[in-house]
Symmetry: C2
Subunit: 96 residues, 2 copies
């Protein structure tokens, strides 16, 4: 019985992994678009005030099971990856 | 014009952040359920073979813009947070 349950939960988890991948990728594409606009405006891409606002909004919506600190950590990693991507894109543009 | 565009992209980003929070939390709840079953079965919660399979499946579906290595890193952080949560829950059970 439990193994059927396990298989079912693992299927659900695989689906959520795919949803997460989609959302993370979609988020990265939007971050790139924002980066391009900022690039044209000559505005720095890293905006700690906006990043903090985003984080606080996310934390305010957190009902668990992860603690706020864990959610903060995970999203900071996602933010950082997006920023790294924007910098890489910028360097690519410079090299072309 | 660009600021209207920026505002629009930021709204989209806020929506995706919320989707991500939901998916990450849903995933954590499923991981907890899996942990509970394994607990009852006396099976170790960390299963590197299953974790690797999940990662490879996710990577095989990655169309960018993040590189595979970045996706791997982000998901490993999510996996680790889930495992930490399972251990904490286990300790809580032991203390009750």
């Amino acid at each position: 019985m439990s193994n059927v349950q396990l298989d079912h939960l693992r299927e659900e988890m695989d689906k959520i992994n795919q949803e997460l991948l989609k959302s993370i990728s979609k988020r990265a594409n939007i971050a790139k678009e924002i980066g391009d606009i900022k690039e044209k405006q000559g505005v720095p891409k890293f905006d700690p005030v906006r990043e903090n606002k985003m984080l606080e909004k996310i934390i305010s919506l957190n009902d668990g099971p992860f603690e706020d600190g864990t959610i903060r950590h995970l999203f900071k990693q996602i933010f950082k990856a997006s920023l790294d991507l924007q910098s890489k894109e910028h360097k690519k543009h410079l090299l072309v």
